[in-house]
């Protein structure tokens, strides 16, 4: 049985859509734009959650939960925020259904109209800052470092599994601080936490930077981001962390008495990553045979497939395999012994390749005789025969090596796809023929940024944190520029 997976070189977008469904990660539901995250996909997301949650707690954050609904009037309190979110939100207007009197079915009960409409949260700054007003009186109540794991809804017109869905899962951190500096430090810290997670758990290299004014979160004074590069040369924003200044504190009247007893508005940040990370994970590592998962996030790290004829041979294999499974589990390695008699080894090999299981062991009659396992690694598809005595050590080595190898591969790809250009013609040429990040001088105006976007579909992904100050001229207008920024087409 083949996988019938479109090749990346044929149609990258189609390859992605097929892979997400075929590898049992997610599928579209009967509700426009909303996805079903299937058990295998959800198991990966759970590992992401666990890794991030640990990092949040280690940096002093606590989890809490705020309402799903936001009264319409709350959303309006911060002017740029409502501009950013009002256009794409789900609005609850009624609280009851009833049987139609003409027997035509169930209808909305017109008598159950809400006095004030409720918006399903697209993000929770407003409801949270309305709450913080009650929690913060004094500098002693600060900093307030809170995170929420939640579902949010943005009524996107064009949706794609994980990358852009009407409902998605995310975490949103919302912190309150006594000083501007503390808030800025927090926003930077969380960008660094995200980068650490992306690189060391997901094996996805990212570029850290800040957004230009036009690409900022609605209501932010500064947006920090991590940008990843997909195999088709398009960038993907993988996480953002916002310095919100005193905007939400002012909108919701959240003041505190500082050490000198003077009243001041509180400083804020918010930061989030979402199930979009699943899309980044798939598109960074996977190949024409299916998913490639980093061992740290793989729900099954090792699969063992028996190759046998008849139950007697399977029993002999199980006798060898069962103790190994126990030993591996004791080491915290997740392992599956697929002894289903309903499927042939070839079918199983295909399935686990498609699902990106990092290590596959096969064991047949000859392996029993020789005291060996056939070990295949998913990232390189290399196979070798390993003595049973050395198998645990080999697996431990491979789990680390695969994690490091796919990171390096992605990093090499990205390095090859950051191109420095000095003219707009060259910019267009590289964008068209090579893709990736393009490092170029820009005059710092929204007009030029907009023109480039309209003419090429490329946007400024970020001003990298490690940017060098140098004399230059905007590739479009020739006006002076003191640093290069990173452009790319993006998801």
């Amino acid at each position: 049985m083949g996988k019938n997976l479109t090749k990346r070189s044929e149609d990258y977008s189609k390859w992605y859509n097929e892979l997400v469904v075929k590898a049992d990660l997610a599928e579209n539901s009967g509700v426009r734009g909303c996805m079903v995250i299937k058990p295998y996909g959800f198991a990966i997301w759970e590992k992401m959650q666990a890794g991030l949650d640990k990092m949040f707690k280690e940096t002093g954050h606590e989890n809490a939960y705020f309402p799903l609904f936001i009264p319409k009037s709350y959303l309006s309190k911060e002017a740029s925020h409502v501009e950013g979110f009002a256009k794409e939100c789900a609005v609850v207007t009624h609280y009851r259904l009833k049987n139609a009197e003409d027997g035509s079915g169930i209808i909305v009960d017109p008598e159950a109209k809400l006095e004030e409409e409720l918006v399903v949260r697209p993000t929770s700054e407003t409801i949270i800052w309305d709450t913080y007003r009650k929690w913060i009186q004094s500098y002693r109540d600060l900093p307030l470092l809170i995170n929420q794991w939640a579902n949010v809804v943005r009524w996107e017109m064009r949706t794609r599994l994980f990358l852009r869905t009407a409902e998605f899962l995310w975490q949103e951190g919302h912190t309150a601080h006594a000083t501007e500096k503390e808030a800025i430090d927090e926003a930077e810290l969380m960008m660094n936490v995200y980068a650490d997670f992306a690189e060391n758990h997901m094996a996805v290299p990212v570029i850290k930077g800040t957004k230009t004014a036009s690409e900022r979160f609605a209501g932010a004074l500064d947006t920090y981001c991590i940008e990843a590069l997909m195999q088709d040369g398009k960038a993907l924003q993988a996480g953002t962390s916002h310095f919100l200044g005193q905007n939400f504190a002012k909108a919701f009247d959240v003041k505190f008495a500082n050490k000198e007893g003077k009243q001041d508005y509180v400083w804020a940040t918010s930061w989030g990553v979402s199930t979009r990370l699943m899309g980044a994970l798939v598109m960074t590592h996977s190949d024409d045979n299916g998913l490639v998962l980093p061992p740290k996030l793989a729900p099954i790290q090792v699969v063992i497939v028996p190759i046998y004829k008849g139950m007697e041979q399977l029993d002999a294999i199980s006798e060898k395999v069962n103790p190994l499974v126990k030993q591996l589990r004791a080491k915290g390695i997740s392992v599956k012994f697929d002894n289903r008699d309903t499927h042939k080894p070839g079918f199983k090999f295909n399935e686990y390749e498609l699902k990106g299981v990092p290590i596959r062991l096969a064991i047949g009659q000859r392996d029993i005789e020789n005291g060996t396992y056939e070990v295949a690694r998913r990232d390189t598809l290399q196979k070798e025969s390993i003595s049973a005595d050395a198998i645990i050590e080999k697996i431990e080595f491979l789990l680390e090596d695969i994690q490091a190898n796919i990171y390096k591969k992605a990093l090499d790809f990205r390095s090859e796809h950051i191109t420095q250009v000095d003219s707009y013609a060259e910019f267009k040429e590289v964008l068209e023929n090579k893709g990736g990040f393009i490092s170029a001088h820009w005059d710092g105006t929204e007009a030029t940024e907009e023109r480039i976007k309209n003419e090429t579909k490329a946007t400024i992904r970020c001003i990298p944190m490690d940017v060098k100050i140098e004399n230059g001229a905007c590739m479009v207008t020739g006006r002076p520029s003191d640093k290069r920024v990173l452009f790319a087409k993006a998801y």
Copy 2:
């Protein structure tokens, strides 16, 4: 500083409401009926989630995620289900807000009306069974054992923190089986898992049983439940597990080919517990001084309060305490050393008593000299002086002893509050003056059940699993009955 907590004997309901807020568990939000779960409350819920999730996985279940929204037409497909849920649901009718042309603010955009209204899930049977139709073709696809952690919304008119809120957090298991027996076994298994969790993690004794027809879940053929008893003598349904027969499979046309190749409808269960468990936890154990938490669910198991004058004394104390903190953490015990210089020991004692921290250590100058700690347990409020050499052993003992002791206390209370009666007069008398569960004969008719409910507000909480078959007569009608059922007033 006192806690200003109403006494249970004065007003149990007021005591509960105050305690939930003062102990930082939750509070009402600006959105009608929706609560904010504060970090301390959420930390307890996270421990509940972790414990339950582990038990679900150990019994073969996987997590997944399904859409928040349910198209109106889906809800209508199972007749009794829509009857049960249509009357109290949040309905999304539009997908955009816009600026009013008269400048009066933000309004719902009348042009952004949905073709079909969406209901915010009150429970997910319909959307999940619509999905299962695509996942199930053959007996090889069964059983399908899936759980979801999610928020749900039921537009309750009268709400109370944790006990009844418009939005609440829960888990909902939805399983599909090839045979009726398997589905019934699953529903029973999950009731047992819930009982295990309630008793061994929450230290809340529960009675396992089945609901009468009128108290069943909308769409279920049988509802299994666990019922707990609160200190005011009212029962609280702490978890339910439903055998759904083939109702949802028929409504959503989910058939499978059995081993003989014949098409049959799939058998279903669903089961859930919610943040309501937080209410049960608070009301089972807590006292007039505040929360009493079982060690297994306490976010802070041990708090250490230094008693000192001046920084030099605090330093000497810290030198003793810091290694102890490390040792306890290495044993997986969560411990907080509250060395805040901004608050006095008395304030801290009060705070941790209010928050139900199971064990409090205090250490002052004399303890340093004597090599001791003062150890106080929250459940009995007993204090004793313990040698520093024996302190870890003492803490380990107390964590187990407190867990066992509060369970036993709750169990004793419940045993004293199950009363067997044989006449309706006695029933009313016990209900009025003593409360608790009342074990009585009932003729099995909905009419009698309804009459008792209307006349006394008591409902049949369950037909206990361990019910004895005996000859009896209904306490109201005198008609024959072969078993006693359990009545109570309930939350």
